[in-house]
Amino acid sequence: MAEETLYTIGELAELAGVTPRTIRYYTAEGLLPRPDARGQYALYSPEHLLRLRLIGQLKAGYLPLGAIKARIEHLSADEIRTLLGQQEPPPPPDSAAEYVARLLSAPARQQLAEAPLPYQLPGAPPCGSVAQPQANLAAAAPAQPMPPHRLAEMPAPAPALAVALQAPRAEMAIADADQWRRITIEPGVELHIREPLNDQQRRAVERLIAFGRTLFGRESS
């Protein structure tokens, strides 16, 4: 830490985003220690700056000056730094484990059937923007990062997620070349098929599925 840097009242005011008058007022009220006034100018230390930032943060929380004074008066520079550090990003409302658990517990996750075509959301999209992610992306030209703490206002999984997870089942509707598809005969038993199939193969596969399921005591639906 550059402990040797000292500021004039004007410099300190600029750094902290307050007026010199405010600094003098805080000093008179005992919220700030008195500056070093041995030289021609009163000089303020980085600790003054830290205290001013903390006062600013606490004021933003509508704490009255008297209460702020009581809270910060006896703090050391390190304690103030820690407090400022802690207040930097507001802590997220839940842990990573809880967040992931919520994503995973969305309904019908495991029962998803095949998507209609690659790179498209299954089912009818709730709005135009999700239907064509590519076009959507181009329209939002400068990549605006998502506000990381949006969750506070929106605790449930995002709407598009809910749509994706509750998508209707799409049956055997694959036109894409060279795609593998898996058909569950019985939990733990799967048939792997490379698409596309010709009509003869398709009929044979359908019979195979039906036969397989009867073997496990499940009639085909």
């Binding site: 550059a2 750094l15 550090g85 930097e88 990062p145 990381p148 593998w180």
Partner: protein, 411 residues
Amino acid sequence: MDEQVLKLTASADRRLVACEVSSQRTVEWAISAAELPRHANRAPLNIALILDRSGSMQGEKLRNVQHAAKYVLDLLDERDRVALVAYDDQVSLVARSTPVTAAQRDVLKRAVDALRPGGWTDLSGGWVTGCHEVAAYQSSAGVNRALLLTDGLANRGITDVEELAHHASELRVRGVATSAFGVGLGFNEQLLAALAEQGGGHFYYIERAEQIAEVFRRELGELLTVVVREVFVTITVPRGVTVELLGDLPHERVGDRLRIFLGDLCAGERRLLYTRVLTPPDASGASVALAGTLCYADLDGRTATVEATVAFSYAPEADVLRLPLAEELLRRASEIELAASTVRALRLERAGQPGQARALLLQSLAAAAPYLAAPAAAQYSALAEQMGDGMSEGQRKATHFAAYQARQSRK
């Protein structure tokens, strides 16, 4: 207090701003991590390997992934945890998160060998399952990260870029990062880069399957030498001043603060951030200062901060203009800006708007021209023409990856 692990310095193209008119300054924020002391303990890794086994991975690609995954297992030891997830349209948790003891390593390697190619690509399902394992054993002293490999388009589960990036950023805030590896020509580079960037990890484009092991080694090499975690810079913006971050990097604004996220940094790593600053007119003799605070957690989970300030003094415009410009700094800033424009232009090109892509890049090039070296300028102008004519998937991905690395100021 021991020596700082991270350093932050701030420098500007000029130290003066004009009294009479608004001035535009460029500020470079340099963040550098100390080299790893020889005796230092490394951070334990808590990772999930999330491997694509969709049908398109069949053959050489899957064999290379298996080889690379086993190689990663060899780099880890009993301090570390690893979970193994394989996904196609079904997600299978091949191995729950487990410490990498010698016995477990053998079990895990056999599980890797047993992977078979399957169906569609439920990238989000695989990723979330991997994150679940990492989160279950999240350690405040270690590196918690999901490593997601794919060769295809996400066509099951969550497929929207913005939505996946949002979840990645939420998980990053909660301490679980994501790195993404795209193999071959079939994956969506915009999606994977967004996932890694918002997820606080790294993105890699792996052109040929035989490079998979080498790229995994690079990522693991960085993870094994992480010295600080969850790094971010907060810039306090004085009243009347406008500060804009160049390079389209993950950031947020809260009140008068601009916060930029850098994720975990490894020993000796150096990152550069650039901000464009607009100062209002003011009286001669006044000054305005921009304060940056670098905040990070060390390997013991303690948070620490480092500060740097750049101050501008007000002077008559004629005096400001007489002062030499830091041209090298401006050149570096221009390159970051052009890299970000390249990514935006590629997005347009991919969306079938080659004309607009070309125009966007040429426009950025014209703006950056005064500081750009002639060969770099010629390269960008050729790239703009190439975009206008339409690009092959390989050119697109290689260009995108180069621009990603430039924006991140990663070598």
